[in-house]
């Protein structure tokens, strides 16, 4: 078993862990981040895409509202490549409580969130898809943020400063020496190989898994799980974030992200950090609510649905009052287990928002540094990060890419028509993995491959063919990669199969079963890939 030593081991490659890696690197601390799967496969890749102005919380949770508006400005400054300045609207309709806007406005004022009143006509001039039934509307500085780009940005910047990050490494045990945590045992979730990392301090940044990881050290951290569903619609129905101006409820928000518009969300108490079900009533509810502010949207084409699990931390003293879901504060918690439990070498950070990840990282790193006796202060709030090479220019609107294609600025044939990805882009993304395993789903996260209306019906087999060519693989391996991708993509469309998207999946199934005969090849690779341990699909074949 190989052994590595670092100053700090960070568990969790979501927004918080990645920001902490960057934070510690800037303080000169040698840190290593590990995730059991890829970056952003936890809550940070299953969220709504909203860079909160804080308006969402102005009605009831002023602390979170304040954190959001401050961090909103910070993230615009430091990761501009991941933020689209869409602005946001809060729209009240006759269906919403008439007394709410006044209360909300008061909350915004207290939290320092600029809320500019607009007339209904002004709002519709900006967003023609909005309903004609507007009773009040305000503009706030919401934005949309691409967590994939932001996290890659943090990791790349940290690497430049000497930090490191490993993916597909699951922490299976925390090493204890007396009353101190001194490292962890990792298991490679693709090869099964085990290794040990010694660390002076471990930072548990595992979001909804924070309780499970703390348990590995025998510590009790009570995290409640609150599941929320989202639906991506096939075009940008709006170019501004649209929030319902009412007490937070299901289906309140429409977020334009990249090429699509994401509707959500719900709030369902659940019992597991990876309960990613999307139930039929959630789909109906989200579409019906969105239709109130953007009439007609429920008859639009829904591409994909997914769910994320919010970690809602319950401090021990609050253990008895049964706050659930949206009532639990959305602020975050940093738990210094030396102080709380008398166990040194472990700090847990959980809860919060993606918008506040940098602040969460700062407070968590402060606690880690205090344990290590390091006095360097946090310096992440001011300086812009370098644009990470791997993600440069990935933020795109389809019309921009189309323009480039038509003017010969993007050479090569078009592999994914929905998202406009060319063969050279795909080849470069594959090459970036060097000798590491690469699944088509990894390329999806890199390029948006297969994320448009056909959900890989056309580009899946093309990408498999190109993967085989670049890697010199056997056909069976490329076929298995395709099979795994078909399964992965299907999970997220299954809740949305009626009307147009049902027809699309009929066509996809026709291509896979009849044109390709994917289900007729001796070693289809599909069933193995889905029953294998998390992340094992790429290694199969």
């Amino acid at each position: 078993m190989t052994t590595t030593s670092v100053d700090v081991l960070i568990i969790g490659g979501g927004a918080t862990g990645a920001a902490a890696l960057y934070d510690l690197a800037r303080r000169g601390v040698r840190a290593l981040l590990v995730d059991q799967l890829d970056f952003t496969t936890g809550t940070s890749g299953r969220y709504h895409g909203l860079l909160h102005s804080g308006g969402r919380y102005a009605g009831r949770d002023l602390e979170t509202a304040r954190e959001c508006i401050v961090e909103n400005r910070v993230l615009r400054r430091i990761v501009p490549f991941a933020v689209e300045d869409t602005g946001g609207l809060f729209v009240a309709t006759p269906a919403d409580p008439a007394d709410f806007p006044a209360r909300w406005l008061d909350g915004c004022a207290k939290a320092g969130i600029p809320a500019e009143p607009l007339s209904a006509a002004q709002a519709r001039a900006a967003e023609p898809a909005l309903t004609h039934d507007i009773t009040a509307v305000y503009r706030v500085p919401d934005g949309s943020v691409d967590s994939f780009d932001m996290i890659h940005g943090f990791v790349a910047a940290a690497r430049d400063l000497g930090g490191d990050a490993w993916i597909y490494q699951q922490v299976t045990a925390l090493l204890r020496e007396g009353d101190a945590v001194v490292g962890a045992t990792l298991r490679d979730t693709r090869s099964g190989e085990a290794r040990t990392v010694h660390a002076a301090c471990v930072l548990n940044a595992t979001g909804p898994w924070a309780g499970a990881v703390a348990q590995l050290a025998g510590l009790n951290v009570s995290v409640k799980f609150d599941r929320g569903a989202m639906i991506a619609m096939n075009t940008r129905w709006v170019n501004t974030i649209v929030n319902r101006l009412r007490p937070a409820a299901d289906g309140d928000i429409l977020v334009p992200v990249g090429t699509v518009c994401v509707l959500g969300t719900t709030s369902v108490h659940t019992s597991a950090p990876d309960d990613y079900r999307v139930e039929a009533w959630e789909v109906s509810k989200i579409l019906a609510e969105a239709d109130v502010v953007v009439p007609g949207i429920r008859n639009g084409r829904a591409l994909r649905a997914w769910a994320g699990v919010r970690p809602l931390y319950e401090p021990p003293q609050a253990g008895h009052d049964e706050a659930q879901g949206r009532e639990v504060a959305r602020t975050f918690s940093v738990l210094d287990h030396a102080v709380l439990d008398g166990v040194r070498g472990l700090v847990t950070v959980t809860g919060g928002k993606l918008t506040t990840c940098r602040l969460m990282a700062e407070k968590a790193a402060d606690a880690v540094c205090a344990q290590l006796g390091i006095s360097a202060p946090c310096s992440t709030a001011d300086e812009a990060l370098p644009i990470p090479a791997a993600t440069a220019g990935r933020y795109h609107r389809l019309d921009h890419r189309l323009h480039k294609l038509e003017h010969g600025e993007m050479p090569g044939d078009l592999i994914c028509e929905c998202e406009m990805i060319t063969r050279p882009q795909l080849e470069a993304a594959i090459a970036a993995y060097g000798g590491q395993p690469v699944a088509l789903d990894d390329l999806r996260r890199d390029l948006r491959l297969g994320m448009g209306p056909c959900q890989a019906g056309f580009c899946g087999v093309r990408a498999a063919g190109i993967l085989q060519a670049v890697r010199g693989q056997a056909s069976a391996e490329a076929t298995a990669a395709l099979g795994a991708f078909v399964d992965e993509r299907f999970r997220g469309v299954r809740p949305l199969l009626w009307g147009h998207q049902l027809r699309q999946l009929y066509l996809d199934e026709l291509i896979y079963r009849r044109t390709l005969g994917l289900d007729r090849l001796p070693d289809e690779g599909v069933s193995q890939a889905t029953t294998a341990a998390p992340g094992e699909e790429a290694a199969h074949g």
């Binding site: 498999a464 063919g465 199969l497 027809r503 090849l521 001796p522």
Partner: protein, 438 residues
């Protein structure tokens, strides 16, 4: 190479439909065959459809009973005897046999021959663009030439550099793994502006140009080196398809075959356009791009259908109506978020999966064995005359007959009989329609 041999001999009396007006709704395989049959029987025919049917997105071959190991018609007969609700059982074996004949006749007539295996009535064994093997009964001649029942090896599989819809190494690797020796070759295509977005049909049209195809042929010639057959993606020409294949076979000195690629299918486009032109020559009316909005019903009969036009609807009248609007894919059956399923033109009752709502429409995996309930159990229930039935099993309308994917009782994606059912039920629907009128 597969030679043309008919399953059986059926004759259509050219007087059977004389004086009768038939409207066929839908331009998929079943609508097209129904129109051809009605025309041949002497009826006045009008074909109305919003667009071409599934032949445009399908690989091009004709699946009758893919799983049959030997005589296909015998296997279907046995299956139909055990499954009285299956469209084959309802339409009857004669309808299937005659429909296959009729398809071969019309395909020959329009210069797009479909071929089967010589002599024995067994299924073909055709390679896919993933190197899997499919076993339909018939296929367009160029595709049927890839039959691997008696393999002469090795195969040479040719693809084009920078063309997204075919990967010769993928095909050759998977074929070789199944014991069929094949080697890949990639050649380049003459450059052309805008070729970054070439669909199979675009490329097929470029092969109509002799300078273009010579440039390709010249690169393949020195590489044939003992290959028994050479396979290309199914893009060898559109208008000049037959000529391109002949030229390639002569130039390479061995049989040349095609492997279907992603939609849209040049073979499907050729068949559709060929039949359309044939129908027009026979003075049938063909309206592609027009939606039938609803049927007008009086006393248990359809008197006419209303066809969408700019700002209004035009009525069209006929004695009998063949409804071949496809299933969930082509709009013959609609579905919504609440899990409702309906037939939009006549409002015929649609049977579907038993459960409430959409929850059980799909299994957990897209390629799950046995397919999905929504495609295996949805459709119109019909009697042996192909008349849609009400809840009590009685025909809803006297003079409306349904065919193709619109029907319940089979899964077009997994049962390996999609085209066979489309053809047999179309044949039966027209026979019944003309008989009812006589």
């Amino acid at each position: 190479m597969a030679e043309k041999r008919k399953v059986n001999r059926c004759t259509i009396a050219a007087t059977q439909g004389r004086g009768s007006d038939v409207i066929v709704i839908g331009a998929g395989l079943s609508g097209l065959l129904a129109a051809v049959y009605a025309v041949k029987a002497g009826a006045r025919v009008r074909l109305i459809a919003t667009g071409w049917g599934q032949q445009i997105v399908s690989p091009g071959w004709i699946s009758v009973c893919d799983r049959a190991d030997d005589d296909v018609i015998a296997e279907v007969r046995g299956y139909a005897a055990l499954h009285p609700e299956h469209p084959y059982a309802l339409a009857g074996l004669d309808a299937l046999v005659c429909a296959l004949d009729l398809l071969q006749d019309i395909a020959e007539e329009i210069g797009e021959p479909v071929a089967m295996r010589p002599r024995d009535g067994h299924n073909l064994r055709l390679p896919t663009m993933l190197g899997a093997l499919q076993t339909p009964l018939l296929a367009p001649a160029g595709i049927a030439a890839g039959d691997l029942t008696e393999v002469e090896e090795p195969l040479l599989i040719v693809g084009f550099a920078g063309w997204r819809d075919f990967y010769p190494a993928l095909v050759a690797g998977n074929l070789s793994a199944q014991g069929i020796a094949a080697r890949p070759l990639t050649v380049s295509l003459p450059a052309e502006r805008g070729s970054w977005d070439d669909w199979p049909a675009d490329l097929a049209r470029r092969f109509d140009d002799s300078a273009f195809r010579s440039a390709v042929l010249r690169q393949v010639q020195p590489q044939v080196k003992g290959a028994a057959r050479v396979g290309f993606p199914a893009v060898l020409g559109m208008a000049r398809h037959a000529e391109v294949r002949r030229e390639f076979e002569a130039g390479l000195g061995c049989p040349v075959f095609e492997i279907p690629t992603l939609p849209p299918s040049p073979a499907g486009a050729r068949l559709s356009n060929g039949i359309r032109r044939w129908l027009l020559r026979q003075r049938a009316r063909v309206q592609i791009g027009h939606a039938v909005l609803r049927g007008n019903v009086e006393n248990g009969r359809c008197t006419g259908v209303e066809v969408g036009a700019l700002g209004h609807a035009n009525p069209f009248y006929a004695d009998t109506f063949i409804l071949a609007t496809g299933g969930l894919y082509n709009g013959g059956i609609q579905s919504d978020e609440a899990g409702r399923l309906w037939e939009p033109i006549f409002g015929f009752p649609v049977s579907g999966p038993p459960s409430e709502g959409r929850a059980d429409w799909y299994q957990g995996r897209l390629l799950a064995e046995g397919g999905h309930a929504i495609h295996g159990q949805t459709g119109l229930r019909v009697n042996a005359q192909m008349q849609p039935l009400d809840g009590d099993g009685a025909p809803v309308l006297e003079n409306v007959f349904a065919a193709g994917h619109l029907l319940a009782g089979f899964n077009p994606l997994t049962d390996g009989c999609a085209e066979g059912v489309a053809l047999a039920t179309a044949y039966k629907a027209v026979s019944a329609a003309l008989a009812a009128r006589a």
